[in-house]
Symmetry: C2
Subunit: 693 residues, 2 copies
Amino acid sequence: MVPYGQQHGQGFPWFAGGEPCWLPARRAARLATAPTTVLGDDPVTATLREDLQVLAADAGAETSDGRRLVVGALAELSAQHLGPVLAGALAGTDVPAGEGFAVLARGGEVLLTAARPAGLRHGLGWLTRRFPGGWPDADVTHVEEPRVDLRVLDHWDNMTDGPMGVVERGYAGGSLFFADGRVRTGAADLARVRDYARLVSSLGVNAVCLNNVNVHATEAHLLDEHLGDLAHLAALLDAHGVRTLLSVDFSAPMSLGGLDTADPLDERVAAWWTGTTKRVATSLPGFGGYVVKADSENRPGPHTYGRTHADGANVLAAALDPFGAVVFWRCFVYDCHQDWRDRSTDRARAAHDHFAPLDGEFAPNAVLQVKNGPMDFQVREPVSPLLGALPRTGVAVEFQITQEYTGQQKHLCHLGTQWSEVLRFDLNAHGGGEPLRVADVATRSRRRGGSPTGVVGVANVGTDANWTGHALAQANLYAFGRLAWDPDLDPRELLGEWVEQTFELPGDLAADLVEVMARSWSVYESYTAPLGVGWMVRPGHHYGPDVDGYEYTPWGTYHFADRDGIGVDRTVATGTGYAAQYPPGWAGVYEDAATCPDELLLFFHHVPYTHELSSGSTVVQHVYDTHFAGVEAVESSAATWERIAAHVPGPVARNVTERFEEQLRSAREWRDQINTYFFRKSGVPDAAGRRIH
Amino acid sequence: MVPYGQQHGQGFPWFAGGEPCWLPARRAARLATAPTTVLGDDPVTATLREDLQVLAADAGAETSDGRRLVVGALAELSAQHLGPVLAGALAGTDVPAGEGFAVLARGGEVLLTAARPAGLRHGLGWLTRRFPGGWPDADVTHVEEPRVDLRVLDHWDNMTDGPMGVVERGYAGGSLFFADGRVRTGAADLARVRDYARLVSSLGVNAVCLNNVNVHATEAHLLDEHLGDLAHLAALLDAHGVRTLLSVDFSAPMSLGGLDTADPLDERVAAWWTGTTKRVATSLPGFGGYVVKADSENRPGPHTYGRTHADGANVLAAALDPFGAVVFWRCFVYDCHQDWRDRSTDRARAAHDHFAPLDGEFAPNAVLQVKNGPMDFQVREPVSPLLGALPRTGVAVEFQITQEYTGQQKHLCHLGTQWSEVLRFDLNAHGGGEPLRVADVATRSRRRGGSPTGVVGVANVGTDANWTGHALAQANLYAFGRLAWDPDLDPRELLGEWVEQTFELPGDLAADLVEVMARSWSVYESYTAPLGVGWMVRPGHHYGPDVDGYEYTPWGTYHFADRDGIGVDRTVATGTGYAAQYPPGWAGVYEDAATCPDELLLFFHHVPYTHELSSGSTVVQHVYDTHFAGVEAVESSAATWERIAAHVPGPVARNVTERFEEQLRSAREWRDQINTYFFRKSGVPDAAGRRIH
């Protein structure tokens, strides 16, 4: 098998193994109808040339309207390639360094250029979005660059099936990268990876971690025996401007290296990581670094040796540094053997307690990967205060694209809305200091230099033909990639982009679909766990309701509902003190039940069922109202979809219709269990007299 | 490999692969110290001869005190073998037909005889129990026969590992019979099976079903491709008087036979079963029949074809009849897709509703296998009313020896006490009619002939060296076998027998151990689900508390606790009417909360937490009191064990000590979760002011 990027000039199918998502040939091919010159033979440019050639073949004859296209990195351009007008325009354009790009069009002559070839990829994505009818007719001067340095997808893929499945928390089939204990190497498998790289690079994603953060024995050997096979995957990704990351096991110096310790301050351990990393980095084209889950949920880590997380991250960072690579060190560290009887321990505090004191102690190429909330990707959590507590450390906010707690790609739950809300959240609002939005944290290194910052998403894709299980969950991947490029993009506009590119819907139906998707996160929240309390899911698989499912477990996820009230007291005055982890503005707002936003009330306060919300309703009546309304909203969305379904391809129509049926069944189950639970517990009847079982 | 029973005269280790349990060589060997004549070459007698030879070798030189032993079935005996006194005694003794035996001792000459060789096995067990010092000194005339025809162990063993493990609900290692998708055939594996056969035949067990009632695709092929390997196992069992049963998939005529239907009234289906069964019966020495779980928990069955359970059982019975074999048809049939919102469906009613109307419609060699209670082996349930509703049908009461809901062999929970209580339960008490104890049902065919009746237990053994995971759980297997032989045996005396045979303890410690074990069922009940309500376990694995774990599931196992009260109304007056499935005596007692026994109150009634029990306590105070007391009892039992541990072999001491530690941890978890749950819900404080979290 010849790695992709060395197959110059060979034809290949456009999306061989699955749906083209937002890159259907019917749109993309229109960009390939004019005489085209692609300059450069680096892997990215060569691959892009192949794509355009395939699209051109797909589109049929070239147009003869006089347009002429030139694509190439700056260093490849010379006067001979450009007409004088375009050359002049280029001379007056400040083409961004790094991964940005410029598009210039003058009198039918079009130039896509960039400082680095990767920028051409991102620029092609922009053109596909911006000019669905083909290359622009009018003159264009467009310069764009990413606002974020690290734009990463983490895959939780395993090499073998096990208790957590091939893809942990995956709801879209098997792994794109692994099967049967090996790295995929078959031609059809690699074609699928190529398609995936094309999809995500069109959005601007620039790194993909191939394997699960929970590194089992088999996957540990990605660092040695599987390196040769991995090189093929890495080459494919590299040819799209996407770097390859690997999750590593902190104890690998013992399990792979035969040492008697993994102590990060032991010289032999450091030497082992140095040697291993050199081998990995020189084997994998575009190797970008490691992802580490250490001292977390029973994974090994530096605490075993009395060392800090900084000690642990820095030994890896040192080994990675010569290769311009980064260690992503996850901050998902908490006591998962908590005793529910111990009210003094609060899982929400854990990440900040562990990592905020270490700010400044990490190497420049170490990045702390912080989940968006303090718990674990619930449909509603406050923003993690740790995101504001690492001014001297590389940091990336981690979102979960795969819908572990948000309907598992059986329910429609568009998360772009949630992520945008998080990214726009100002940690210093309400008098806490200079504005510090999560977006500002993510864009810090682009604006100010220093340790890299960015956005990470846990991928939601698999071997299903539609990539994401639920066809409409493609929009979550799309929104993630776009927001990682520019955290200030409007999530509703992104939905519009996605719908417009993916389907061919009459305008009103497109708007209806955008509306259904835009509200779907809020709808999901309404029929599941109320008022920010979270966690009322079946333990283990996390699908469907179980109000007390986690209430007495070691996972630290409690609601403390009794016959009088519910919620977790995280105030400084009478609770765990978590509220004080925020800067003073939010600390004050959250501390007081009267000012705490309704949607997070139960996260911060234990209140009576009869507590009056700022909405004017009571807690228990809010529970009843939102749960009845949530099911009605799903019914309405499903009905809207039925009008849309006739206008989309049959497989998509059937897929989404079936999932709406399951969502509706499940939403009713949620409604009835939650309402019954609280009615049984509170004894308060529904003010509207609706049926509670 | 030569099947056991053809290895006459070869030595083999006594309990090669595990602990000897109640048959330690130090005791058994004393029976082999006198000159011994074993008459007969049938497999059972030959095997018994081998056992005695091995024991004799183990015991060293034969005694020369003039004793002489003759062992043989009646047909093998002639004047030349017996002295005149013994011959005279034999002439005056009514040796029972069937599986009974007689022991006669006169002046140092001892005879063990039986009508059938299997009786010799059971008689040897009796001698080992009765004469730990060796053959009797005094004159003995003892005649004994089983009071029950069917004395069966069901194994839930799978051939491959899967979601439910190799042994479904097994807590003692792998399967004795299967590994890696195949029937075990290795010499060491078969030695272990031989040991198992010796253990259970010493108790009188006369049939073992080798595979799980949930028959998966691999196990379906036990009926064809694995028959040759199975024959070795069957020969081993047969050589101990134990018949081999197989669980079969009702749809096998389709999956194995290639038919397009499994309709029991289709001639081709009947022909397929006839042909298949002939092949099985002629391949497996001592083949005893089939066990079937049909139309139950998603298993296929006759309902698919609009046929009755009788139709389904009878087609198998007809195929089995020529071979004196039986079909065990399980009555564990209920709706496992119930909607918790539907209060009109009561799982407790299901078995009686399904099967009682069919009484009299089953073939003479069909046996309905009825769980001891209407639900599923909870620590406390009422006795199944179906057991009294099948006067014209073969019937077996099914107990669960494996501790699925009773501590999974991590907790000490001696179930002989429970089974004895069930067996002594008079279904017709309180004016319901002529006494009809469950023991009377089980012994019916021995007393009156007709369709066979008996007792079935789901085995608790596996490949662990101590057979049962928890060393003291061996006593559950022991008690089951003994009660299956004679349901009126006293469970506490059986514990005494087991302790005396298994260990060498000073008398007071033996009594202490018996006491600890005798109360352990009651102790387990006290710290788990209260007052007969059951089911407050973690869904799926069924270990540890989860009060609401099954409350909203499709399994039909609810408690309906709200802020005011708890329990399931199964009365005729206001509930599901289940109480009326009992004969009028019990129906009346159960119908009225004032007369319903405390320990079943919440099974039959929904009552306020402040309801006064006949004990004088209230429901909620009873919950608190029993849960505090339960933990204290475990603490006390563990302390007693520490005094005993020094007197048992090290592996046993460590095994039981470790399990007591886990039992104590788990019991405290149960206490605290249950008490907290009911305190949160009821708001009623503990009258004694103890700590509730």
